[in-house]
């Protein structure tokens, strides 16, 4: 039976307090209602990679037969995100990839497609990545309710932690939330219309449809994870469905925010973090209709190696110091020069260097054993020529050899921490993120995080950064 074998999540540690949007930043140490914000080196793809790395922790990556990437904000209109994610994860080359896009339901749709593929026998293990990083107009209500984040699931029929029991979907044509080809920000029609004619009837219809089809009641489910655009709508749906409070998965408003196509998947991941064997779980999503899926936790749910889920990430936070810095990080500030016009990095060079740049694959010398990065023809240590085997460094632990704080490099949050980091004996000149200058020290253990390094050429360019191993400081 197809089900979820593993899961992971990612929430950017940067949080924007709603009070900061209003020009009243909370005092040091004070935490009020806030939302997660992807920083300037993050987007739907980098967050998706982070969640997927977590999902695949301790598992053989060669098992993955397919990658489905779901988002409304993958940075390219034309060019697949799933293939890029597969490359960053250093997956097999014969992996099937597809993007699910255009709807807030894309995340659950991809998950459902994963279950179907495994059930049909066309893939043994499918990696589902749902990630969103939606942009709302500065000062708008949506800016306050949105959040950024990602979830990932490995779907297969082996060591399943939650079995897929069935789903129900309705489709509905409604212009309630939309973003056209030329829009930068998400539009919304009148709030009351969206709630009364869009969200509430659709979500309730999908959940009821699932319950009817399975001949059960809401009370049969230990955990119900419901997408909602905001807290009030969520409370309305819970009331309409007569769900007891203790069965409702916390929708995390005021902490995470509505993470779009990743929201329902992230709530499902959060539910799995505390699920007990035998418990039934329901997850429902909304967007141009609604989806509801039923799952049942198995005895494996408590055996899965601990991983960084939604709860872990929510506990790791830092406040954005001013609204202005948020605007800079999301490129919403006024600029003297509009970017673009230049062709950017050579796509030919990108093609040659994608193993290094996207998958952080270096090499090990077969003669002397020295690891090096990037790839080169002649060994740095023993001068052997062309005697190397590839070595994936992205999943290894490194340490800081030396560092500096660069105030000159443009960033919304100077200084940029720059290190020489040693991993497996290879040395890499690399930025350090999620660290403060005072934490930075020689010997600091680091892991690696896939990031948007810059947007030269008007397109996102990706590479890895070092980040302190949590708890290793």
């Amino acid at each position: 039976m197809a089900g979820i074998t593993s899961y992971g999540a990612y929430v950017p540690p940067t949080r924007l307090a709603l009070a900061t949007i209003d020009g009243r930043p909370p005092k040091e140490g004070e935490v009020g209602p806030e939302r997660s914000v992807a920083w300037n080196d993050e987007d739907a793809i980098t967050m998706g990679v982070a969640a997927a790395v977590e999902c695949l922790r301790g598992l053989d990556r060669a098992r993955v037969d397919a990658v489905f990437f779901a988002s409304t904000t993958q940075p390219f209109r034309e060019k697949q995100a799933a293939a890029l994610v597969a490359k960053a994860l250093d997956l097999r080359r014969d992996v099937a990839t597809a993007d699910h896009a255009g709807s807030l339901r894309a995340g659950l749709a991809a998950l459902r497609a994963g279950f179907d593929a495994v059930a049909a026998g066309s893939a043994r293990a499918v990696l589902i990545v749902a990630s969103d990083c939606r942009l709302a107009a500065p000062g708008s209500g949506l800016e306050r309710s949105f959040g950024d984040g990602a979830a990932a699931f490995l779907v297969s029929d082996a060591d399943v932690v939650a079995r897929f029991e069935g789903g129900f979907a309705v489709a509905d044509e409604l212009v309630d939330l939309w973003r056209s080809e030329r829009d930068r920000f998400v539009h919304s029609w009148e709030e009351r219309f969206v709630l009364q004619e869009g969200y509430a009837p659709n979500l309730v219809e999908a959940v009821r449809g699932l319950l009817e089809r399975s001949g059960g009641a809401a009370g049969d489910f230990a955990k119900l994870a419901l997408f909602a655009p905001d807290e009030r709508s969520h409370a309305g749906a819970v009331r309409a469905l007569r769900i007891e409070r203790e069965r409702v998965v916390d929708p995390l408003f005021g902490r995470l925010g509505n993470t779009g196509a990743a929201f329902a998947p992230m709530l499902l991941a959060a539910a799995l973090e505390t699920a007990r064997p035998g418990e039934r779980l329901l997850v429902a999503g909304y967007g141009d209709g609604a989806d509801a899926l039923a799952l049942r936790a198995t005895e494996h749910v408590e055996k899965l190696e601990p991983r960084r889920g939604v709860g872990w990430h929510l506990a790791r936070r830092r406040s954005v110091r001013s609204y202005d810095r948020y605007l800079k990080a999301r490129s919403l500030d006024s600029r003297e020069w509009e970017g673009g016009g230049d062709p950017g990095l050579s796509a030919t060079i990108h093609f040659r260097e994608r193993d290094e740049d996207l998958a952080l694959v270096g090499q090990r010398c077969r003669r002397c054993g020295a690891a090096q990065f990037p790839r080169q023809r002649v060994c740095e240590s023993c001068f052997a020529k062309d005697a190397f085997e590839p070595l994936r460094l992205s999943d290894k632990i490194g340490r800081v050899v030396t560092y500096t704080f660069d105030f000159f490099f443009p960033t919304p949050d100077p200084p940029t921490i720059v290190t020489v980091t040693e991993v497996e004996g290879a040395r890499i000149h690399m930025q350090l993120v999620n660290a403060l200058p005072q934490q930075t020290r020689i010997g600091l253990p680091v892991e690696f995080s896939f990031r948007r390094i810059h947007q030269v050429g008007g397109r996102p360019n990706y590479y890895w950064k070092a980040t302190p191993v949590p708890g290793g400081e």
């Binding site: 740095e380 030396t402 105030f407 930025q431 810059h454 030269v456």
Partner: protein
């Protein structure tokens, strides 16, 4: 054992334009200023007849070797050399080699660069790749600070003294850009560029050009009575220090390797005692500090004591950067190595005015550039 070219080549004329934000000068204007001063210094009246070839060095030139030959209307064999911050020294090396091997009798060397035409106040942040960012020179050279400070207990105050010294020396050099005394407090309180470098730990950004006329030693007295001889000249490549697994971030290998070669060529066994004056590559204060040690002027880790006791000041035992160095002249990359040779020639000939050092018989100049991955050293001496 290689024979080397010691004493085969002589410098008979040097020139240097005023370094600075030369808004109203083109590269050609600066090249003409420097080259014609070198002609005059060498007593050359007919360069078309008296110069056999030109070696020019520039990192930023868009026009290539023709920029120099067109400026001077010297229709000669022209070679453009590029070797990071050692570009000027390497152009000088190629010129010296061409004479030593007998290909030419007299050769003009011109180093120049014009970074101030780019519209940015500091160095450019290059975004031509995704790895190794940020690519800022301050960030590259600062990578030895955390390690060196931790191991040897030095700190920003020790670096600051180097900036104070060089600012002082710059006030005495007519062609320097910055002519202002500063204090250790000024250095420590300036805004940070890349820790531990504040603004005053960094070289200025300027335009400039410098030139030298070289000839066979046996022909030198036809030009002037006090020629300066080339004792050694070398450039040395090293591994990218950021990738090099053997790098301890306490010294820069290319400097140590180039120094060993240069001292062998010049027959120097005790550099601290034998060298009378030195121009070191102070792109950042720490670069000068590490160079004291990498060049063997003092033991590794001991630089701060020698800084404190004034060894490298104008009146000290081994004056360093007598004209104010890159700190006050700025670093128009191709010009710098040749500007240092200009200063060393003036010092050896007793023509350095208020900044003249006493009794120097050997003068060393040093550049290091890239990540740093290249070093150039030239040692000059009296006959």
């Amino acid at each position: 054992m290689r024979e080397g070219i010691r004493d085969r080549v002589a410098i008979v004329g040097v020139g240097c334009c005023r370094f600075g934000e030369n808004w109203d000068q083109s590269p050609a204007d600066m090249i003409v200023d420097a080259a014609y001063e070198a002609y005059q210094d060498a007593g050359i009246e007919e360069p078309q007849r008296q110069i056999d070839a030109v070696f020019t060095g520039s990192l930023y030139s868009q026009k290539g070797p023709h920029e120099c030959s067109d400026a001077l209307k010297l229709w000669k064999p022209v070679t453009m050399v590029s070797n990071y911050c050692a570009t000027g020294t390497d152009a000088f090396r190629c010129a010296a080699m061409s004479i030593a091997c007998g290909l030419y009798d007299s050769v003009l060397v011109v180093g120049y660069d014009k970074p101030k035409d780019r519209g940015v106040s500091g160095p450019s942040v290059m975004m031509n790749q995704v790895r190794d960012l940020p690519q800022t020179p301050a960030g590259w050279f600062a990578l030895c600070a955390a390690t060196y400070f931790e191991k040897y207990g030095a700190g920003r105050e020790d670096l600051a003294k180097i900036a104070v010294k060089n600012h002082h020396n710059g006030t005495l050099a007519p062609k320097s850009f910055l002519k202002r005394e500063i204090t250790v407090k000024d250095v420590l309180e300036a805004r940070l560029i890349s820790w531990p470098f504040g603004l005053y730990d960094c070289a200025a950004q300027t335009d400039g050009a410098a030139a030298a006329v070289l000839t066979r030693s046996d022909l030198a007295r036809r030009f002037r009575a006090d020629p300066v001889l080339v004792k050694a000249v070398t450039v040395q490549a090293g591994p990218n220090p950021q990738k090099d697994p053997g790098n301890d971030f306490l010294s820069w290998k290319p400097t140590a390797w180039a120094a060993a070669d240069a001292y062998r060529q010049a027959g120097i066994s005790d550099p601290r005692a034998e060298i009378g004056v030195a121009q070191l590559h102070d792109c950042f204060t720490l670069t000068e500090l590490l160079s004291y040690e990498d060049l063997g002027f003092c033991e590794k880790g001991s630089a701060k004591e020698h800084i404190a006791s004034g060894v490298f000041e104008l009146t000290g035992e081994l004056p360093v950067n007598t004209d104010g160095g890159l700190k006050t002249f700025g670093h128009p990359t191709g010009a710098t190595g040749v500007r240092m040779i200009y200063e060393n020639v003036l010092q050896l000939q007793g023509r350095a005015g208020a900044r003249q050092v006493k009794d120097a018989r050997l003068a060393l100049s040093h550049n290091i550039g890239g990540h740093p991955t290249a070093c150039g050293i030239a040692i000059l001496g009296k006959e």
